[in-house]
Every structure is written in C-alpha cells, then in structure tokens.
Amino acid sequence: MAATSTAAPPGADLGARTRRRTTHTLTAWLFLAPFAVVFTVSFLGPIIASVWNSLFTVQRSATGLEPARRVFAGVDNYAEVLGSEVFWQGIGRVLLFGVFQIPLMIVGALVLALMIDSLSARFVALSRIVYFLPFAIPGVIAAIVWAYLYSPSLSPLSTALEAVGLDRGLFLEQNVLLLSMANITTWTFTGYNMLIFLSALKTVPSDLYEAARIDGASAWSIVWHIKVPLVRNALLLTVLLSIIGTIQLFSEPFVLRKVANVSADYTPMMMAYNAACGNNDFGAAGAISVVLAVIAGLLAFGYSRVQARFSR
C-alpha cells in the first residue's frame, strides 16, 4: 500500500483509496451474507408472508364438491379481527395481566437488586444464583410444574390453602387464574431483570457512595437519590421487554388449559395459533399477527415517550 502510493501520481492515490473502500464493502457483505440469508428466511420472508396472507381468504364451495379457492379479501380479515369480541377480550386479559404483573415484577427485581447491592447483604453470591436460576428453566416446564402446584390433588400449596380455610383449588378458579399465570411469569423473569439492574448499579464508582456517606447521607437517601436514578435506563429496557413479552403471552395459559377452564382463544397469541394450526385460517392468523405487532409497537413507543417526558 505504501509502495504504490509513493510511486503513483497524486491523483491515483484517491483511486486506490476508493478501490480499497469498494473491496471492503464487498468483504463486509461477505461476512454479513450468512446472517442476511437466515434473517431473510426467518424475519423478512415471514413478515411479507403474513401481510400477504392477511389479504386473502379461503372460500369453500357451498356444496363442498369443488375445491376451496383462495380469493383476495382486501381488509376483510382485519375488519373481522378488529370487530371480534373474542379478540378484544383476549387483549383485555393481556393488558390486565401486564398492568399488575409488570410493576410487581419490576419493583420486586429492583428491590432485590438494591438489597443485594446494599452493605447489609450477606448471602450475595447465593442469592444471585438462586434468583436467576428460574430463567434457565424452559418456560413450558416452569408452567407444567406450577400447574401441578396449583392442582388440588398433589400440591403442598393446596394443603396450605385448606389449613387456612380456603378452597383447595383456589389457584385454578376463573377469577384467580390470571394471577396464577402472573406468578409463573414473575417467578421466571424476576431474576433476569434483577441481574440487569444489578449490572447497572455496578457501573457506579464506589467512591461516590463513600463520599455520600461521609457527607452524612442516610442509606435511604443514597438509594433514592443516587441508585434509583442510575438504573433509569435499565428500567426503561426491562419494562419495554416486559410489555413486548406480555403481548405474546402464550405458554402459561396454553399449559394451564390442561388443568383449568381456559378457552382456546384466551389470549390473542393463542387465537392466532388456533387460527393458523387449528383451523388452517391463514388469513385470520395473518391479520391477528399484524394487528398484535402494531399494538406491541404502539405500546412500546408510547411507554418510551412517557418515560422520556418524566425523566427530563
């Protein structure tokens, strides 16, 4: 490189540099190519297929003699989904779930992180491992184990319920069911969120705390005025991820169907699954997926706007 630039006339230097840039673009894209392929197959293709499918409907002939035909339906599928009571009931359940489960889990995770980070804590290493452990366990298996723990025939919890005079099957009753599902989600993800908070807390230089303490700040004011503001970004991240996770609520209700009275369309995600794999109604399933993605996007966007306003 050095040899050519000294030997060549001044104008050629630019040419050599452009050439180097072009080869770099080619090399970079060669490194990116494998990801581009799997990403196209797993993200872009499905998104296009989903939007495309949502515009068609399958028409079966009234006599059942002729083969079913796929006909263009325009926005009919969307109108049907948006006009469906079942869909909005599902959305309502998911929102209700999120409204109490997300604050409960996030505040719990933050409190645990602050306790582990405090000077009083003794069982730091043990607690960190134990809290994070549920995150490593497959969500379905967690749901299966909790489903047994909610079932009156086997569970030590039922024995405890009976001892205090409540019904053995309380956890699986209709008006408690959503709480029981929220408990499974909380059990699985609290430790994960706690670790995110903990790593944000660890970025604080410890002499900042020293200085505050020497200035006579109480442990509480250190928590409120130094630590909590420091985890603000982590808070935004964890709440956003939780909102996105809640919209797709699926395995907890799907597993609890086997032991409790849960309809096949209990959440919007279950409705989409049922439409696609149960009824082979790709049009409806496509429309539900698109509507859910839009709702998830709007909620996430709305939340980050509100958060930005409050933090300034």
């Binding site: 490194f31 809290y131 995110i196 944000a200 797709q248 989409a272 794999c277």
Partner: protein, 288 residues
Amino acid sequence: MSRSPAHPRSVAPSTLSRVTVNAGLLLACAYFLFPIWWLVVASTKSRGDLYTTPSLWFSDDIAALDNLRRVMEYDGGNYLRWIGNSLLYSGTAAVIGVLVSMAAGYALAKFDFAGKSLVMVTILGGLLLPSALLTIPLYFFFDSVGLVNNPLAVIIPSCASPFGVFLGLIFAETVPDEVIEAARIDGAGEFRIFFTIVLRMLAPGMVTIALFLFVGTWNNFLLPLVMLRDKELLPVTLGLQTWQGYKAVDLTDLVLIGSLVAVLPVIVLFLTLQRFWQSGLTAGAVKG
C-alpha cells in the same frame, strides 16, 4: 480514612437494616427454590407415594431410579429421542448461530461499507420485534416452501439472532484495529484474519453467544409446537407437554422425572458458565 470515626453510624449498616435485608434475601430464595425443591422431591416418589405422602419431603421409598427407567421406556422410548432432538436442535443452532452472529458483528464493528446504517437499523428492529409474534408468520412461510414438520424449520430461525449479532458487534469492537492492520500488511487474507485471529481472540464472547443460542433454542416452545407434527421429531419440552395433557392415563410421575432430567442440562450450563451469562446480560443492558 474513609471510615472516619466522626460518622460511624452512616457507614456501618444498623442491625435493623441487616436483619431486614437478609431476611428479605432468604425469603426470596425460598420463593424461587420452592418449585424446584418440590420437583426434586416429587420425582423420587412412586406414583402411590406421590399422592399419599407429605409433598415437601422424601418418602421412605426412594423410587427415583425406577421412575427414570420407566420414563425412558414408556411409549417406545420416545423420551430419549426427544432429549436427543433437543440436543441436536440446540447444539446445531448454537454452533451455526455463533459463527453467523460473529461474522456479522465483526463486519459491523470493523468495516465501513455501503448499507451499514440500514443493517444496523434492521438489527435493532429485529431486537425489539416480539419473537413469538413472528412464529405464526414463519409457519405460513415454511408451509409455502414445504419445510413444515422438518427439523430445519426449528433450526434455521434459531440461528438468526439479532441479539447474537448485537453481542458479536460489542465483542468484536474490543479487537484492536492495529492487530487487524498488522495482519493485512503481513499479507493475510480477510477470511484468514477472521478465522485465525479475530475468532481466537473472541473465544469467551463466542461461548456467551453460543450459550444464549443453546438455551434459547432448548427453551423455545411455540416454534416447535407450530412447526413439528411427528412425535419422533419433538424436542423434550414439547414432548413432556403432550404427556402432561394425556387424559386417558395419568402420566404425572413420568412428566415430573422427565421435567427434572430435561432441566438438568440447562442448569449445568447455567452453574458452570455463570460469568458468560453475566457478560451477555451486562453487554445487552449497558448498550440497550
């Protein structure tokens, strides 16, 4: 010096705070361990004891080995096949996915190229896109290309991880430019630089990405549920879920021991590779 005797109270935590904090920590430990403890105890019991003996302690008759033998033999030995499937899908996704992610992350970290900002935006979008929402559309797409009920339908999407690329990018940024330049001056080709220098320097980062991909695939439920039909192709999570739902026979004891065995690989990975988990989460949280 900092523990100046003028302010002893503000430095040393009070007894009250010490008791409250540690009681809180232990109480939380009990909550998180409770289902796991119950699963371990229940898996060691015979079917009869399961319903008749106190559920939080072992019964006199430890039937763990017998349960283990029965779970392996039941239904023509499907359980072992399911474990094998899970290992195959997760292992393949981890190995291929880590190379794919590292290569893409390296390109983004160390090259200026046309289309880079578009790629970055796409990856950030992919990070926030709800993955389960994508699964049903994925089913349409694979159905139209004839991949439904094929293990590839589970493996390919599991290799495509925007989070993996994101971690790859963060890790690749730590490779000094001088090292790459020096290798170029020595005449090493771009691919040799990547495979022999970059990947070697980033081995710990590769373990982190592979770990997230492996566990993510092992724990995924909706994707195999939607894609796979044949009993012989199911991963262990899905297989156990079908057993849990059997109405004709009560398979509770088999589901319990099967669940315990199915979580063991992830728990082992979790306990032995803790610092890699930590580095992945920290990188994600700080940048995110």
